[in-house]
Symmetry: C2
Subunit: 468 residues, 2 copies
């Protein structure tokens, strides 16, 4: 039996040489698009297109089978009709290929004949050292070296390098389906485990726990093959880095739906909930939380306490932030006397938490300067561990003023903060949010998640301190 400690998963993310099995039809074939993606995203490893109908593609020699490749091959990516896959995988195993990503679908996910085909893959991988991701997967993306196995066009040229590993049991979470460039998510590695005929969430967690690029992992998982190993892996991971788990197939109907597209049946949800909590991992409940909560961990160090400052252009938003903060285990910070004095000097209406900037801003001739002073004073208070900030973006000031203000603020403060922008123009809100992401300030498309993210940060901080 293979080790599940993740040590052999490097071949999926950092292969030195890759064989691609699939259609090389110009501009459209999945093999062609995949090779094009690898080149576009800057992958510099050796590429070997394999297809008996072609002798060349994109200036590279094509090989009829893997046998003809003289070099050693670290990884095979297979995007061919299901019935051809076992033979290809067998030939790869014989050649000593270390790992394979099987993108092709209609295996256990289709049942019947497909399930039998998948069993053949399981047999091959059991009898060799070769590791397999898939079938029925888009595979992996590594932001650090531009390597990917995704054979679909993205519409953008790369993914921002950063600390978040996004893992999933569905392809929808990978870059070919998501606005990763528009949102500027800071990514280390991404992986869709597909039907899990070999590599599963346990291997991945163990691999990523040791991965220097990964600071936090978000895991979408519908079913777990081996509950005990999974909990062990989650516990090991969470002891070192924050782990967020999105576990759909919560309902019985959801579990049945999961079985019909992944070929495996999920178990009782409450069991997962309790087990996950015990490992130190944190459960998230929506796609939005899956995507947006990890950012606080990628950018920020853990806060020393749970005392939150709320600064908002809107009193109504301040109230919502307060509710969600309390529900997320945060405390509403009580500012020090010195802070209250400094705020009161600016305006008596500022001496509270949440701070409603609205009225004082409307009474001053220099609202931008007042806003910056308030944010700086509050973040400077030793009674404040973290902050959530709600700002209008639009006619009051150009985006650059807001971005530059945060640049100045960040020079003096390293406390965790999240920002929610609102305004009348989606493109303006998205642009200022993107620019702040690049500064290392997590921004949110909804106010509630901006606060929940800080709640998760505090919770993990307490777990690490042995308080939870």
């Amino acid at each position: 039996m293979k080790s599940r400690n993740g040590s052999d998963l490097w071949a999926f993310f950092e292969p030195r040489s890759v064989a691609v099995f699939g259609s090389l039809k110009d501009g459209m074939g999945l093999g062609y698009v995949l090779i094009k993606n690898m080149l576009d995203f800057g992958f510099t490893g050796k590429l070997y297109p394999v297809n008996p109908s072609y002798s060349e593609v994109l200036g590279m020699k094509a090989y009829p089978t893997v046998k003809e490749i003289a070099d050693s091959v670290d990884l095979a990516v297979v995007i061919t009709p299901p019935h051809t896959v076992p033979t290809i995988i067998e030939q790869c195993a014989k050649k000593g290929v270390k790992a394979a990503v099987i993108v092709s679908e209609n295996f256990a996910d289709a049942g019947g004949e497909g399930a039998k085909l998948q069993q053949q893959l399981v047999d091959i991988t059991t009898q060799s050292d070769m590791r397999i991701i898939g079938p029925n997967t888009v595979g992996v993306f590594n932001a650090a070296n531009g390597f990917t196995t995704i054979p679909y066009p993205f519409g953008y040229d790369g993914v921002r390098k950063g600390g978040i590993a996004y893992c999933s049991q569905t392809g929808i979470v990978l870059p070919q389906c998501q606005p990763l460039e528009d949102r500027a998510y800071p990514v280390s590695k991404m992986c869709d485990v597909g039907n899990k005929c070999d590599v599963n969430e346990v291997d991945l967690l163990n691999y990523l726990a040791d991965d220097a690029e990964t600071k936090v992992a978000a895991l979408h998982i519908e079913d777990v093959k081996d509950g005990r190993s999974f909990m062990d892996a989650a516990r090991r991971f969470a002891a070192r880095k924050p782990l967020l788990i999105f576990k759909p197939a919560r309902s019985e109907a959801g579990a049945r739906a999961s079985a019909s597209h992944t070929g495996s049946l999920a178990v009782n949800d409450r069991v997962y909930g309790n087990a996950i909590r015990q490992t130190g991992a944190m459960r998230v409940n929506t796609w939005q939380e899956y995507w947006d909560i990890p950012k606080v961990f990628a950018y920020h160090s853990l806060p020393r306490g749970n005392r939150l400052a709320i600064i908002s252009h809107s009193g109504g938003a301040g109230v919502v932030a307060t509710d969600v903060a309390v529900e997320s285990g945060l405390a509403i910070a009580r500012y020090s006397d010195a802070t209250l004095e400094r705020l009161t000097k600016l305006s008596p209406r500022l001496a509270g938490n949440p701070i409603d900037l609205g009225p004082p801003l409307s009474m001053t001739d220099d609202p931008l300067s007042l806003q910056e002073k308030v944010i700086s004073i509050v973040l400077d208070d030793a009674n404040v561990d973290c902050a959530t900030i709600v700002l209008y973006v639009g006619t009051m000031a150009p985006i650059s003023y807001i971005v530059e203000m945060f640049e100045r603020v960040l020079k003096n403060v390293s406390k965790p903060m999240t920002v929610w922008f609102y305004g009348t123009s989606l493109s303006l809100v998205e642009e200022v949010s993107r620019q702040l992401e690049w500064l290392g300030v997590p921004t949110y498309t909804d106010q509630e998640t901006a606060v929940k993210a800080l709640g998760a940060l505090v919770r993990y901080s307490r777990f690490k301190s042995g308080l939870e």
Copy 2:
């Protein structure tokens, strides 16, 4: 005591003549911007700028006080320093002005002197027939006639006319802060009640219950002045039209925060929860639900049952939809034998619910046609009451293909459906969503709310049938 039946609120939304009190400084004064907004949005009533320092603005004669206006005045909008407001309101009352929106802040919201000033306003309105909205409000917006009291620039030229009334106790919900054009929300009327020195949520609900333009109301409310009257109004409203209530200040800290920006203290949250449920109104819990759930009611008639079809480009998204459906009181529809036969003919992998379009689409040369067939067949099934559809938008087809497909589908089907688009480009996703909104198909920025919205539709349908 005034009647709270809403009959005299017409002057706020459909005034024939409006006096504007505020700075007329060219391009910047709040009175100036307000008058400009009214003109830009197509309001055709009579306008009377009132400001002793000006004799003319935007080609209109300006008046030193309201007394000099010869015509009768339906509505006064007051945006002047707090200490000047009681005198202005008194003069308006004497002149027989029917209603006033007091935009100025620093009344009860500021405490102290402000609270005393607000009491003067209460006294005036108690002793006259004049109704007041505010102070500390941006007032109203009426999409039907372009009338507004908002003295801030929007950045767009109008709000789409439709059936949703958005009411709130904060200005953040009004058009000067929200991307209403980008999202194409179909709006009837909007109102921020502010400090509620006179008009409150009860008046509004009673007015909107009778308003022909309003098909559904979303109410954001932090505190309720008179619980019994409110519940009566909510009950009357919900008996006629769906009512969604977003009630922050759920936590004690949230209630305190609310008091500090509205000048009134909220009460125990559980009391509200139970009371709201008994009225037939539905509680929503986030800004996103507040904004996006009403759309299903504005576009769709009520479904006959709770049987949901789920059609998705992603198996993983289908599982999430299933979970949220079950949690929202929806049932996963069992298709008729005839439907299953028709689907199986297209592909054996289609014969389930949720339907994962992914694999069959990747195996056909004409994915667009297959997708349209599947959607039509499923919506045609008598066992299906409503549907949620998840579609990728990007390289597969231009937006126009997707929009035209829905145009054709809508010709034959009138069942409620919600759509969640995903893809690599935010602007593309937003554009196709906007175009579908104009077709009357509610689209969502997150998958979960797309399903919850149908859950709310079914719940109201059951309430109307006496089942809940």
